[in-house]
Symmetry: C2
Subunit: 190 residues, 2 copies
DNA sequence: CAGATCATGTAATGCGTTACATGATTTC
DNA sequence: GAAATCATGTAACGCATTACATGATCTG
């Protein structure tokens, strides 16, 4: 029920479906993602419901763009969502599920390898986030004069960084404990 | 594609669908959730594919239980999944999406209220996790002698706690910044 | 006897992914 | 002329939620 709202939010400035697709890749990845094949029909549906209006616009290259614009009904729906209090999705964290059952492999080294690989991927993700943060800080004017919109977008980025850091910290802590267990086991066998 | 694997993992000991439903509520909530209405057909499908086998068993109260048991094919599928490396779901974090668009309300106090409410809900969640941790530490024998399975389940819990703490920390940091902005605005107006 | 818990399921609907189809323009 | 980018979409399938349907047993 939220892709609708996210598209409405993104359409506070008129844009074509294709543009929104790139926005998911660039700035919204952290908290949501949608394929173009989902975006296009969703925009059509929102238009049919009177939330959006569209017109054709020529493209500098490639076929004509269908540019969507937010209508009053859409703006009201967006505001209702924003005023409805924090929404939570039911958790879906496959890698923690894997860890949960990892003893099935009967190989403590496999668990260690798994968490190491997890840490590597989280480091890469964190690096991407931090690169964005650098870019913002760089082109950013002075920090207090920033607009509310930019401030909130920056806060969302900070949230992603905070969680990635926490997960990495957990990896380090967990690896330490796993290795301590391995050492204890090896001295017990010897 | 993962509920299948999670059910296979849970069925390393035979159980009925209803039992698995409660397990999601009790110990797996942190990383996954499924309704009974999704669990029952999924179990049937896995049986048809030869991953599981089932038999009827009498219940102490209520209708007969259908108890499922893991077959070799199911165990192999489970292992393939565990060996396939850490899987990530595409992020879906509605409350960060809301924050991202929150300036639409044009009311800085609304953003502050939103993050406060978020913090309250995260504190409640963290308290639940910590209660589980207490329970584990309490009934737990000595920490090094714990089984691999219990160790991994504990690690999964620690992951949930780490993330909840990080989100709460981010709330505090963000609230501080939001309030500083408000103060700056008010002195500027005065 | 009412309400909670145990226990299994189906049906309808909606959300999301993957695969497929098309075609123009720009860059190398 | 090949590959990348711009741009729109449809179709099939699978995953997830909500609502509905049924009925036994236990607890207060």
């Amino acid at each position: 029920m939220s892709l609708d709202h996210i598209l409405l939010g993104m359409l506070r400035e008129p844009a074509a479906g294709y543009d929104l697709g790139r926005r998911f890749e660039e700035s919204a990845r952290m908290f949501w993602f949608a394929e173009l094949s989902q975006i296009y029909p969703t925009l059509k549906r929102l238009e049919k419901r009177g939330m959006l209006r569209s017109r054709e616009a020529p493209s500098s290259r490639g076929p004509a763009r269908r540019v969507y614009e937010l209508m009053d009904a859409g703006r009201e729906e967006l505001r209702r969502w924003l005023e409805s209090g924090p929404q939570f999705a039911t958790a879906r964290i496959p890698h923690i599920a894997q860890l949960f059952f990892m003893d099935e492999l009967g190989d403590p080294e496999a668990t260690i390898g798994f968490v190491e690989s997890l840490a590597a991927q989280l480091r890469a993700r964190l690096a991407r986030y931090e690169a964005i943060e650098e870019r913002i800080r760089g082109c950013g004017d002075d920090w207090a004069a920033i607009s509310d919109r930019d401030f909130n977008e920056y806060s969302a980025l900070r949230a992603g960084i905070a969680v990635a850091e926490a997960r990495l910290g957990w990896c380090a802590e967990t690896l330490e404990r796993l290795r301590a267990r391995q050492r204890a086991r090896q001295t017990a066998t010897a």
